[in-house]
């Protein structure tokens, strides 16, 4: 099968273009439908990896420390992200705990882990074992990662409860906010160029 690494096809309308290098910050858009074809990567692999390591650290903090503390008439309670998922398990709505755990804990974890794996090798211009599967998984997981929705949910919960009781932020809330920013930077980007970066010399054969 012949391949054409110099071409790109718009995912949204099937239009074909020749690829050309972009200056920093530039975006190539489809002339026919206006969708983004590809972007100049603002990050080199070193910085990307550094941000991924940072994301791994804040992920850990966000999951270990409570996000919110409440007190009501001398009683106190606090909850972590895990406990929030666990609170859904009781009662008839229990199955909803599965997609919730996936979207705010497991999928962000997998995104960070897969990126760490791929980038550690890409740094040396090599493809990690299981590179193709990892890259395909990263593409498939992206729409299901919902840390930003979770962050908005935390804020709504704070406002909802603050009319009945005292609400204080826990360390987890800051870590979740940081994770939201870092995950957007590392995972919501064009990852296709890693294929070219790590391509073996005679890839066109």
């Amino acid at each position: 099968m012949k391949i054409f690494p110099g071409l790109t096809v718009c995912e949204h309308c099937d239009a074909v273009y020749e690829r050309r290098p972009l200056a920093a910050g530039e975006v190539a858009r489809c002339r026919r439908c206006g969708a983004v074809l590809y972007r100049a990567s603002g990050l080199d692999v070193e910085r990307w990896l550094a941000l991924t390591v940072a994301a791994a650290i804040v992920f850990l903090i966000a999951n270990v420390y409570p996000i919110i503390r409440i007190s009501l008439q001398g009683l106190h309670n606090e909850a972590t992200l895990w406990q929030s998922v666990a609170a859904l398990v009781h009662g008839a709505a229990a199955p909803i705990a599965v997609p919730t755990a996936l979207s705010i804990i497991l999928i962000p974890f997998l995104q960070i882990a897969l990126l760490l794996w791929v980038l550690l090798y890409a740094r040396q211009g090599r493809r990690a074992p299981g590179f193709a599967q990892a890259m395909r998984m990263l593409v498939a997981l992206r729409p299901w990662s919902m840390i930003e929705v979770c962050m908005l949910g935390i804020l709504v919960a704070v406002i909802k409860l603050s009319s009945y009781m005292q609400v204080a932020p826990g360390p987890g809330i800051w870590a979740t906010a940081a994770l939201m920013v870092l995950l957007t930077l590392i995972a919501n980007r064009d990852i296709h160029w890693l294929w070219d970066l790590t391509a073996p010399r005679q890839a066109d054969a």
Binding site: M1, K2, I3, F4, L7, T8, V9, E11, H12, C13, D14, A15, V16, Y17, C30, R31, C33, G34, A35, L37, I67, I68, L72, L75, N77, A79, Q83, S84, V85, A86, A87, L88, H90, G91, A92, A93, P95, I96, A97, P99, T100, S103, A132, R136, A140, P143, W144, M146, V149, L152, G153, V156, A157, I159, K160, L161, S163, Y164, H192, W195
Partner: protein
């Protein structure tokens, strides 16, 4: 891509196909070997997402059906200082509105009512026009599809709010918040509409331009 103004050629015309997963453009051999995989990443190649319209319709209709119990059944049970009550999605919004928290009422209304209803209407419109191979407002329809892709997952907001408040408020005798079955149906609606918009192939919007295919 500013230079020329002629309409760009399509992959189908040029006899090439792009991998959905890694973006590599390869020669289109799908007539000879319909199960060909991408030579670079191994993902199955296809010109359009398989059974796009049928799958998107099925998932969309299922989502509309589940949207009824999601709104009628209670999503949350709240007991604050003795008194217990169940609330639905709309009654939760109204409660915020009446207590003067207009901003938060609006946020929840947008995420739980406006976004899912917009998705139903937009996906329905895209599917009907794609089936008729309509050439009406293609650029605008393409933009609508991208909008739906972008806003879809924000509807999970209500599920996450219920999870967080239920985890926090657990003072058994005094106050308690528990999830109720409605939130399960609501979560299913969000997942089904996301799957529906992923099954829809936006290239079908443009296929009406070429009547012989």
């Amino acid at each position: 891509m500013p230079e020329s103004t002629a309409p760009p050629a399509t992959a189908r015309h040029l006899g090439v196909v792009a991998c959905h997963d890694c973006g590599l453009v390869c020669e289109d051999w799908l007539d000879a070997s319909p199960h060909a995989g991408c030579p670079r990443c191994g993902a199955p190649l296809h010109r359009r997402r398989p059974d796009s319209i049928a799958r998107a319709w099925a998932l969309l209709l299922a989502a509309v059906v589940f949207y009824i119990p999601a709104n009628v059944l209670p999503v949350m049970y709240t007991r604050m200082l003795g008194e217990g009550s169940e609330s639905t999605i709309m009654s939760g919004v109204l409660q915020f509105w009446q207590s003067g928290s207009y901003g938060i009422a609006l946020v929840i209304f947008i995420a739980s009512v406006a976004v899912p209803c917009t998705k139903f209407l937009v996906l329905g419109l895209l599917l009907v026009t794609a089936q008729r191979r309509s050439t009406w407002a293609m650029r605008e329809r393409a933009r609508l599809y991208r909008l739906v892709e972008m806003i879809g997952y924000w509807s999970m907001l209500d599920v996450l709010v219920v999870a967080i408040v239920a985890a926090l408020v657990k003072f058994h005798a005094l106050s308690d918040i528990e999830p109720r079955i409605g939130i399960l149906f609501f979560g299913i609606v969000v997942i089904l509409t996301m799957l529906s918009s992923m099954s829809f192939d936006p290239r079908l919007i443009w296929d009406g331009e070429n009547p012989h295919e």
